[in-house]
Every structure is written in structure tokens, then in C-alpha cells.
């Protein structure tokens, strides 16, 4: 068949398909449901025409046009459709705890590195407080000593407003979640970045803890950190686990090609990253609006803090048990 006749016979067909593609691609903006009946059939027809045009060596413009139509059709037909809200609820109830248990080896290693370095530094600094100066510059030591000094803290809390709470909330979001994401991504460097971030944060937090405990500021420091610590510290440990997983996929591909192994471990680490985002968001909220509150008694903060830890641990240990079987 000559090209002109071929074009004449099918032009209407292609235009119809093209307008259907247009409406599918702009669905988000127009907001109305597109007419999709017969889409798959038309798509197969266009694929068939493309194959014919290629085989018969019709002119390049026609082949390009059909190629483009088929490519756009391919993308519309094979795109994944998801319901975000349902996915989010399902993820929090089932997906995240299941993912943490599936990657328990990485979570274990990351937790050991993070909490281990934290405790070790805390104990060392407690018995040798001058150690804090090898970790922090002098001004920061003075800053946080002042912040948790029981005498000055009461004064600061009186002047603290709701706007300040919100400012701190935004600061925690930008800073902490950023650290969580970095810990994951830098795990690509064969895990080294994740390990560095875990140890760095563990040592930094441990030094403050040990130093302030030695000074006897326990009544201001621990009630403040115990609440959000449940979400924040576990969040950072899980971010490290996700980073380690990524690095491990690159380092030890097993029977896959290195590239395939990398893609797979990245995909499997993603639930942990979503979870880190969720945990650190909760942590920022608790830290800004609960931990800092001056109206709550120390007992109330300890009780709530303990139940937060219990909640988080039992969430990971018991959450979605039935779903995973």
C-alpha cells in the first residue's frame, strides 16, 4: 500500500487517539474524568500501524509521528495508578513496621552503632567532663549549659510564646528530617556515609547527655528529651539502616548484576525512608509543642516519655503481625 493511501485511511484514527492522549495527560488540570473507552484497542492499532510503517519504509516524518503516539500511549497504558491516602494509612499501619522487621539486620547494626556510640560517649563524658570540649567548641558548650541550667530555664520558659514553639517546630523539621534524608542518601558510598552520620550524631548527643548529667542538670534535660527521643532517635537509627541497605546492595550484589542489585536495594530501602520522614515529623511535633511545654510536671513528662518509647517499640515489634503472615 502506498503511503498516501495509508495515511488517508488512518488519519482520523490517529487524531482520535491523539486527542484521547491529550485528555489523559491533562486530566490533573481539567479535573474531569477522560473518555477512555476503547483506549487499549486504539493503542494496539497504532502499534500495528507503526510496525507496518517501519516495515514498508514510509517517510521518516510519518514513522516519527506514529512512534511518538505509540510512546505516549505506552506511558499512559503502563503507568501505575495509586491512591495516595489509602497507601499512606496502609503504610503506617502495616508497611512500615513490616519493613523494619524485614530489614532487622540493618536496623540492628545501625541501632548498635548509633545507640552504642551515644551511650559510650555519654559514660566517657560523665567520668571525664572535659571530653566535651574535644567534641564541641567552647561557645556551644556554654550555650547548651545555659539552656538547661535550671535557674535560667525557668526564666526562658516564661517568655516563650506559641510563635516560638512554631519556629522551633519548623527548625526541627528542616534540620532533623534533612539529617535523616542525608543519612540515607550518603549510604550509597558503600555505607560509609550512613555509618559516619550515625556515629557523628551518636557522639554529639552522647557528649551533651554525659556532660549535663555530670553537672546535675538532669531535672531539666531528661524530661525534655525523653518524649521526642522515642521518635527521633529511632528515626535516625532507621535512616542509618536504610543507608546501610543501599550501600550493601552496591557492595554485595550476590547473584544479581551490581546495577540490578543497587536498584533493588534502593527500592527495598524506600519504606524505611518514608518511615523516617513520618517518625521525624512526629518527633518535631512532640519536641516543639510537648517537650518544651512548661505547664507539664516532670512526672507527666516521664510518664508520657516512657509510654512513647513503649508505643514505638511495640509498634515495630507487634505492628501488622497478622498482615505479614
Amino acid at each position: 500500500m502506498k503511503q498516501e493511501l495509508f495515511e488517508q485511511n488512518n488519519r482520523g484514527h490517529w487524531q482520535q487517539f491523539e486527542s484521547k492522549l491529550d485528555s489523559l495527560e491533562s486530566r490533573k488540570r481539567s479535573g474531569k474524568a477522560p473518555q477512555v473507552s476503547g483506549f487499549a484497542e486504539q493503542y494496539r492499532q497504532v502499534c500495528h500501524h507503526l510496525a507496518l510503517a517501519q516495515e514498508r519504509q514510509y517517510s521518516p516524518h510519518l514513522i516519527d509521528r506514529l512512534n511518538q503516539l505509540a510512546l505516549r500511549g505506552h506511558q499512559q497504558l503502563y503507568k501505575s495508578h495509586t491512591n495516595i491516602l489509602y497507601n499512606m494509612v496502609y503504610f503506617i499501619l502495616v508497611g512500615f513496621p513490616a519493613a523494619v522487621r524485614r530489614e532487622i539486620a540493618f536496623v540492628g547494626i545501625a541501632s548498635t552503632l548509633f545507640f552504642g556510640s551515644l551511650l559510650l560517649t555519654a559514660v566517657l563524658t560523665y567520668y571525664n567532663p572535659s571530653l566535651v570540649y574535644s567534641i564541641y567548641p567552647e561557645e556551644s558548650v556554654m550555650d547548651f549549659t545555659e539552656m538547661y541550667n535550671p535557674a535560667s530555664k525557668a526564666r526562658m520558659e516564661e517568655t516563650r510564646t506559641a510563635a516560638d514553639d512554631f519556629t522551633m517546630f519548623s527548625f526541627y523539621i528542616k534540620n532533623n528530617i534533612g539529617i535523616g534524608f542525608q543519612t540515607f542518601a550518603s549510604g550509597f558510598l558503600l555505607g560509609a556515609g550512613a555509618i559516619f552520620n550515625l556515629l557523628f550524631n551518636g557522639i554529639a548527643i552522647g557528649a551533651v547527655t554525659g556532660y549535663l548529667t555530670e553537672l546535675g542538670y538532669t531535672e531539666t534535660f531528661f524530661p525534655f528529651v525523653v518524649g521526642h527521643g522515642a521518635f527521633e532517635l529511632t528515626g535516625i537509627a532507621i535512616a542509618g539502616a536504610a543507608g546501610l541497605k543501599l550501600g550493601y546492595g552496591l557492595l554485595c550484589p550476590g547473584r544479581l548484576s551490581r546495577k540490578q542489585s543497587l536498584i533493588r536495594s534502593a527500592r527495598e530501602a524506600m519504606p524505611l525512608v518514608y518511615g523516617v520522614f513520618f517518625m521525624l515529623l512526629v518527633a518535631a511535633f512532640v519536641e516543639a509543642f510537648w517537650s518544651s511545654s512548661s505547664y507539664l510536671s516532670i512526672t507527666a513528662k516521664y510518664t508520657a516519655g516512657a509510654s512513647f518509647w513503649l508505643l514505638v517499640l511495640s509498634y515495630f515489634a507487634l505492628g501488622a503481625r497478622r498482615g505479614s503472615e
Partner: protein, 226 residues
Amino acid sequence: MLDTYRKLETPENIDLDIHIAGPLVRILAFTIDSLIRMGVQIGLLIALAFLGKVGMALWLILTFVLEWFYPVLFEVLNQGQTPGKKAMAIAVVNDDSTPIGWSASIVRNFLRIVDFLPMGYVTGLVSMILNKDFKRVGDLAAGTVVIYREKSKAAPKWPASTSSPPPIALNLKQQRAMLSFVERQNSLTKERQQELANHLQPVFQQQNQEAVNHIVRVATWLRGGQ
């Protein structure tokens, strides 16, 4: 091979042509995106400064979102195109050319901090140059690729001409060359057209403008015109 076209075999058993985007056009797209992002951040800073402390807090949250999710949101919700990519007519898709999802987009954009190392996206650039699909580290980990998404070109105007059969039998490749010549005719100067047409003098026995006209007649015949 230095070719940037890839064949993608679909489940329908046809080969689609994919045109991979190279480092230069991607750097340009990235520059546009960076400028937009910077502009928005400064604009927000000025607008929110009037709200005092709360405004600054909002600004911090919004810069966090811009910093980490600007490319992710656009890529997932806008057919794989950030504004910069749209301006350069490129788009990011999965390796099998299906639209990119949340996980893949987050992986490829979060790993920018690896691509950035040690400074100014050197790792990403080296990775793109070493890789036949111009993938940076984030693309490798996410299984994505950046391709051209050309707007459909207007059909070339076919010149009005009588038709005549070719003097000898032409094989498919030669026929296609004839058709392609006529479609590209308007983008070539007269002199270049004649220069190209003169290569066929041994076959058509004609020169210069006459040769060009003759090719148009033969192509019109091949295409099916009377």
C-alpha cells in the same frame, strides 16, 4: 556506539525509539530549575517577612520542602517534567519508559547529594559520561533515564508536483532516502538541495534544479500521488 537512540521493545512487540538526553541539556534544565527555586525562596522570604516569627517559621518549612521535594513533586505530578526539564523538552521516565513513581523519584533526587560530591556535581557528571545512557548516580539507583520529549512537529508541506516512476527499481532504503529528502527540503538551502541531488546524476541524468525537481516527482510517485 555514540548513538543516543535506544530501541525499546514493548509488550505489543514493537520497537519504540527513545532519544536519550545528554549532560549539556540536563545541566541547562538544572540551571533553570535552580534559578526558579532560588527566586521562589527569595520571593517567599520577602512575602513572609511581614508575618514576623510565624512567617519565618513557615519560610523554613517551605524551604525544606523546596530543597528536598521540588523535583520530586514536579516529576511525579507533571509527567516527569520539572519546569526546567519542560523548557528543555526533556523528561525523566523509568528504564522501561513508563512514568516515574514516588519511590523512584525520591531515590534519584535524594541521591543528588552523592552526585554533588566532591563539589558541583562532579560525580554525577563523571557518571553520566561513563554511562551509555547518560545516567547519574541517582538514575542508576532509581532505574530511571532522562529522555527527550519532543513536541509533535507540524507535518512538512509536500510540494505540489506531478509524479513519475523511478528509472530503475529502488530498494526500500533508497525509496526512504527519496521521501526523506523531500520532507527535509524546506530546511535546506537551494544550493545544498542541488548539491545533494547532483549525486544522483548517473541515475537520473539531470543536473541542479532539474535534478531536485525530478527527485520530488519520483518521491511523489513513491508516496502514491498521481
